[in-house]
Subunit: 458 residues, 2 copies
């Protein structure tokens, strides 16, 4: 009986051909004309899943595009891994900026170019090939697996939460495994174990009951833009710390181990600033850039508007002004508490003479999968074996809503094994997948299946 | 020989009828379909001017709508008054909000309702009737007069400056007389002797070289909206004073006489705040509301925009943000110096980490016609005689660009004799002219002609 790893090494050319077939289907979820392609793509996947020995393969309707489900549950007593991915892709436009046609996968150098190559058909396919390698060579997997591949990720996963809630029993698992993100850098395999949450607020501020002529009235009433500017300028102190009382109360401190781990990542503040066209960076005193991005909460203005904003010089003293301000949150902050603290503070510091309304537009919780958890430990071993290199620990500054949903609805943590690269043009022309990451990813996931029962042992 | 004043009193019914004919012409300057009406209105005025004994009556073309000119220069050695007015009107829409048709002058109570009744056909007509009263009863005026009645005031007087420059010799005069504004309140005749100037600026602020994801980047770079808010919040101190160094250096102090005069005006801060829907007013410490509005300079935000401003919650950390900020200026400030001081200060206080550009969009000088000048003294006597009531002194918070242009191009001061009312719906449905002000205005202007040679005597 062959080893699954020799099988993988022997089949890379076929993998590339199969993935190219999958990438040829223009499953653009936002385009109503592509509904037949979405359907065709789901069917392609379902057929492929059946072909590699997965069971209970189903194309399950939603209010939008269908979910493709499959499982293999032949390892009783072993951990069950829920693998999430998506088969829909971003629109390819502008077409003229593609070097080769977006739905005709093309290898140049070590990269495979096509829409969806990295986000997320290529990374989803990695899991299928790891499963295939085991079933073909061993007749079995070391763990149980369930696949949940959706078709609406690029349009906001509108129906996913309902689907997960409705099928919670079917999706029951010990952890979620997702490959829909990037490793830290080319040649730097990494495991992402934390995401920030979000509390997205809007402030609406009203001064006089109508727009006034700034000549006839200017100097006698408080200008709402001035009032809002004062509020915004008081959200941070001179050390870059958010001034909202109680804001940091629930922030989990970075452990010494995490800080040391972040310092091992290849990083240059100078290069980062240069890439952004900035002469200097900014942030909370006492923390490195990566710590600020991943492990510290923020209050960030996303937009502001009020008064006259066209060309020219209209002399208006505006009645109202608004701003969108969002807080990125880290464990163990909660979005509802952050929203409450924000509203209380803004109302407390709002200058007299204006009416201020604070609304919460959106909230999402921060998540962390502790680096001591069995899933993260298995991923670390698997990455080292898959890429022949000790992986590094990282977090992400953004949020991945489905991770929060899985935590909320299924009560399980997610392991994020990203095999993309930070500059792989995920939503842009010339999207690509770095082929060493494709093959290394298949090996890594196979190792993950193998290692997980060990690390999961109590 | 009759007195011009008995003549005026005997002819009010005819005045009302004639004015109604003038108001029946829909001379809407902004509406291309009304060009024939504009022409007809200019011809009506020219005919009327000839009829009352004015000379050199001409309809003079401009690049836009024509100017109507006329003069009477039969008083050598006496002052020459240049009377400015406009025969174009605002559009009447929304028509359904008019109680009576906008171009069918209708008397209700003491008011004459029609588009242009107050702004400015009615007020311009006052001057013609005062001239007529003298020429008819005396065969002569006590002063020389020149009429400059334009047809583009409601669309920005685009061609007026060029016209005045091109005809400076023809328009030579000792002072300008304009009735295109309001008295302080019903039953409170007043003379406006000062206007504020303007320096209108734009700040453009750039942080990172592109819009960033506020999750992936938030906390590591200075947010441009936060930076701009800090700048704006530092334009005023806690006493409501503008903090720009040198800003107040050239501000002419209010004289004790002016402050006393302003205090005589009927004014209620509580009523003013209530009308604006405000619980409290705001402004520079140590000054009353009217002083703040008329005799103190300001820095006022007119507009601000940046980042995501639509519905919903887009997590962007914007690359750029802009604000329009204008300063109202008082004598003896200059708009170019104010612009320079503003730019220097904003650049000095701009946080490091953003690029700031400051542009001057528009400037206009403050003007004052000293209350000791012969024109203002004549107006005070004339108003008292015309309305049987001691008039009060006032200024205006806004600017009237043509006053600045006359000062700049013809080197003469303007006397603003407003016979409108503050709530006469000048640009709204149901515009009206208060008829006691119409008749009182004609008497006042006749007295002005009579008194001016006295006050003008060196």
């Amino acid at each position: 009986m062959n080893s699954p790893f020799s099988f993988i090494d022997a089949n890379t050319d076929r993998y590339l051909k199969e993935l190219s077939d999958l990438l040829a289907i223009p499953s653009v979820s936002t385009d109503p004309e592509r509904v037949p392609d979405i359907k065709r793509c789901a069917e392609w996947l379902a057929d492929h899943m059946r072909g590699i020995g997965l069971q209970n393969v189903q194309i399950m309707p939603t209010q939008g595009h269908p979910v493709v489900y499959a499982d293999w549950l032949g390892a009783p007593g072993k951990p069950t891994v829920l693998i999430y991915g998506h088969y829909d892709v971003q629109p390819p436009e502008p077409l003229e900026l593609w070097t080769s046609p977006p739905f005709q996968a093309t290898v140049r150098g070590d990269d495979l170019f096509a829409r969806g190559a990295s986000d997320d058909k290529g990374q989803t396919f990695i899991h299928l090939k790891a499963v295939e390698a085991f079933i073909t060579t061993q007749g079995a997997l070391p763990v149980n697996v369930k696949f949940l591949i959706e078709g609406e990720e690029e349009i906001g996963s509108e129906h996913l939460e309902g689907f997960v809630r409705d099928h919670a029993a079917m999706l029951k698992a010990d952890l979620v495994l997702i490959s829909d993100s990037s490793m830290f850098a080319k040649g730097v395999p990494s495991i992402c174990y934390g995401l920030r949450g979000l509390a997205y607020m809007q402030i609406d501020l009203v001064g006089p009951n109508r727009d006034l002529h700034s000549g006839s009235y200017g100097g006698s009433v408080l200008n709402p833009i001035q009032a809002l500017s004062e509020i915004i300028s008081r959200l941070h102190d001179k050390n870059g710390r958010v001034t909202i009382p109680g804001f940091y109360d629930d922030v989990r401190k970075l452990s010494a181990k995490e800080r040391t781990a972040f310092k091992k990542l290849p990083w240059s503040d100078a290069k980062y600033a240069r890439d952004l066209g900035l002469r200097r960076l900014y942030g909370e005193k006492g923390f490195t850039t990566l710590e600020r991005l991943w492990a510290r909460p923020t209050a960030e203005c996303n937009g502001i508007w009020g008064g006259f904003t066209d060309e020219g010089a209209k002399t208006v003293l505006p009645s109202r002004v608004s701003a969108k301000i969002s807080m990125r949150l880290v464990p163990d902050q909660s979005s509802s508490k952050a929203a409450r603290l924000f509203e209380r503070y803004v109302k407390a510091i709002a200058p007299k003479g204006v009416q201020v309304t604070v609304r919460s537009l959106h909230g999402g919780e921060p998540v962390i999968t502790p680096i001591e958890s069995s899933g993260v430990r298995a991923a670390i071993v698997a990455l080292e074996r898959g890429f022949g290199k000790k992986p590094l620990y990282q977090r992400e500054g953004g949020s991945i809503p489905i991770v929060v949903q899985f935590k909320k609805l299924l009560k399980i943590d997610t392991v994020l094994l990203g095999f993309g690269l930070p500059d792989e043009n995920a939503h842009a022309p010339d999207e690509f997948l770095h082929l060493p990451n494709f093959y290394g990813g298949i090996r890594t996931v196979a190792h993950f299946f193998e290692v997980l029962p060990e690390t999961a042992r109590p």
